[in-house]
Amino acid sequence: MGASGSGKSTLLGLLAGLDDPTSGTVALNGTVISNLAEDRLAQLRGRTIGFVFQSYQLIPTLTALENVLLPYELNDDSGGQKAGLERARELLVSVGLSARMDHYPVQLSGGEQQRVALARAFILRPPIVLADEPTGNLDTVNGEHILELLLHLNHVEGTTLVLVTHDPALAAHARRVITLRDGLVVSDVVKAAAPPVSAPSVGL
């Protein structure tokens, strides 16, 4: 966590290989990524990292279902569309959007859009999910709901969740909290155990 301008996004960008470090190397899941060609990197990233952004970043021309399916299509060469489709539907049901699958992003509220984004982040069962201020654009109720879903999915799928926030309440959910200020790590606290995850309340 850290305040605005502390370097959170830069770090996240480097971790995901979205940007090149000016010096040093970045290794993702044991693979050095800072010297990879862009397209190789994209493929690696697609399989390894799921993203949740503050402003959802759904593709406006695709339906909710298609948005969720997109990483699967972009990264799966086996052509097993059916399996992907099933998984996408399951995820959408689990975030409570079973009735909104064929809606376009503009037809969805902010909370709904972010739930689609959650489903999209987990579809490939990535080892890592990066969430950048996932509740930043939402009201308290929706924000809490998204957080619950995120933690729940994290728990169910067994992924490493990297959550970027400036909100101490949000950070309280994490097992390890790294605090940044002016581009430097000022503290790195590891808690013994994560707080219990309440069952997500589906449907608002």
């Binding site: 979205l18 993203f51 402003s55 970043q57």
Partner: protein
Amino acid sequence: MARLSYGTAARIATRELHSSRGKFTFVIMSVAIGVAALTGVRGFSSAFRTTLLLRARSIMAADVAARTNTPATPDQQAGLKELTAAGNEESPVTEMLSMASSTTSLDPLLVSLKAVDPAKYPFYGTVVLEPAIPLKQALTDTTVAVGDDLLLRLHLHVGDSIKLGTERFRIAAVVEDEPDRLSGSFAAGPRVLLTQRALAATGLMAPGSRVTRRYLFKLPPAKPGQALSDAAVAALKTKLETLLPEAQITDYREANPALTKALDGATGLLSLMSLVALVLGAVGVAMAMRAHLQQRLDSIAIMKSLGAGSTQVMKIYLMQTLLLGLGGGVLGVVLGIGVQMAFPLFLAKLLHLTPSLRLDVHAIGLGLGAGLLTTLLFTLPPLLDIRNVRPILILRRNVEASDDPFTTRMLRKLKGSIAQIVASVFILAGLVLLATRVSDSRQVGEWFAGGLVVVLMVLLAMSAVMLWLLRVFLRGTRLHLPSSLRHGLANLYRPGNPSAALLAALGLGVMQIAAVYMVQRSIVNEMHVTTMENVPNIFLIDMSTDEVMGVKVLLSQQASVKGTPEIVPVVSSRLIAIKSVAMDKLKLQHMGRAGQSLNLTWAPTADAPPPGDKVVEGKWWTAQMAADSASHPLVAIERGRANRMKVKPGDTITLSAQDDRMVATVAAVYEADSRHTFSRAEFILPEPALAGLPVVWYGGVHCDPGATAMLRRVLYEHFPTVTVIDVAATLEVIRQVLLQVTYVIQFLAAFSIFAGIVILASAIAGTRYRRIREVVVLKTLGATRPRIATIFSIEFAVLGLIAGAVGLVFANLLARELLLRVLHFDYQFQPWMNLGTWIAVAMLTVVAGWMASHRVLGQKPLEVLREE
């Protein structure tokens, strides 16, 4: 809310211009290219037309000519005086047949006299004399200039004398060429050129003698730097038609049918190209402005949240638009002038013509005005949208979310868009106004303006329908399609995506570019046929039946003669009645008494029209009907003549030849081809109908233009009674003009097509900004560049295919209407050309999209983390 002064608005607007120079340069360039195309094409075409028409006028030696066989009444003379008092120059030309004799041998010879006023005649072109002296010097009241055949036949030389009527004249020169030879009479006998006073002195113009008078007119010069207006010519023509009802009035554009057609075609096409340049420029402006305003949405939201009212924001962006329009307009005019100056340089070798490099103020004003106006007209509706930009946008994107049924949404949208609709009506009105200003040919302008509105509506509707169909198709199949294809197709109807607008713009562009190409091609094709080698340029008048074989043999022995000579029988006749009404009871204008004496001919084949003639009404007779024609005479009449006589197939006309009367039924109306000698006769009958009547033969043959003098001499030697008229020089002028027309319109068409493609490509490129975010998201999710490129390529290819198909359908319709109805050229559907164009459009769209998206593809995915 404090009132925002225009000065402050302009300052804010310029400040914003500074901040994102790259994007604005793009907008300015789009405007500039449109305006440059318009100014360049307009400026050059008006300069070219002026030069071209000057040449066309030399064929008639005047702007307008009135030809009559009756002497002017005192009233008419007063009327003619009035016309000259109004600033028109007038000069009479008198032509008649007469006898001349050598003063030494007294041998008589039939000559064709032409009396002119050497002080004025010819208004355009020159009379070429040998020795090369000016006409004024050659023609005095006691001297004449004669054709070289007269010298040959009377064994005279320059300096000798001939006797005409009661007077003797010294031969001062040989006439080599007269500019108006084609529009004068094709009478038998060598030419004798003399002054009007000399003719009066001969006493030959006794009452009752057959004299043809042509009054040549030259309009007062137009203001410097301006072409002679077609309207002034038409006005003089109308005045003359009322003043001299029995006369045949022609203006310079009608001097030669091929030339007239070429000029009409070129004028029409140039108008079309100017209009296309205008509309494409506007499309470029519209697309650029649209993309630009989309980009400004954030700034607008910020300004609004800082307390700016809609009016103030609109004021700022209006100022910005005006600045961009003006900047683009000025740059475009400069570019256009460059283009205009470069044209003659490119064409110098082909044309031997240097259009004056003066700056056409009119064209510049028009270009600048068009640039500014279209910028405004096309940006007003999106600017009015500013009122709907809510400051909330600064906090949240995509605030618009609605599950209302489609109809309610549309209704609400319609209600909210009244201002836009009103603005759009103004756009169209403005466009129509500009179109009529731009067009040299009013008809083309009207068709275009009317067509544009309809086509734009249909294009928009069709684009919407296509997109809707695509959507339905995707709904049904989408998850079964390969994901790149599905994603590419889905991109076409993204919410808030200007796909329909882009489709309409592309379709319109394709339509206009393809229409220009088709019209150009048709005109050029026809003119190539017209300028073919074998056009007769030597005419043989008054051959007797027993001379025909000999002439044919002699001609076939000449190396300079190209193709087969066409020798046509002519039977002189008089028109007695039309539809059983006697001629003197009929009041037909512009027929005159000469109209009653006609030339009849028969076709070489019994059951088909002579070469070059085309039946336009009725049916040609069969061999059987021809055989029966001695008892049931039939006649085919040339279209112009039939129109003047007001007869249709089925009507009868009564003819008399050699005191025989014959009531002939009109079987067909045909269109003559001026390239064939047969066009000299306007009435064709089956041969049996004319059996036994006295026949003279006319011939036409093509000879190398350089060798005509030789051929003439050979013909004089062997057939001294046959008159040879040499129009090679005149035809060469026409041929040159036609060639120049084809070169110029091909060149200009290529230029407009090129400019059009650039504009359309930039319209496509203008959509790139909205792709940046999407590319970034896709990359973050693991999409490789080839994958993204595939998605975009599919999107662009479909866009190109749809726009190409719609555009080509309308291009064919537009070209067909323009060619057939307005310009009277042939239209032929060309499947391969259309298919090729279609594929080319799709490919060009993909390439343009690619080039535009290239930089976008290189975008670092980090952007995704930075909020917009």
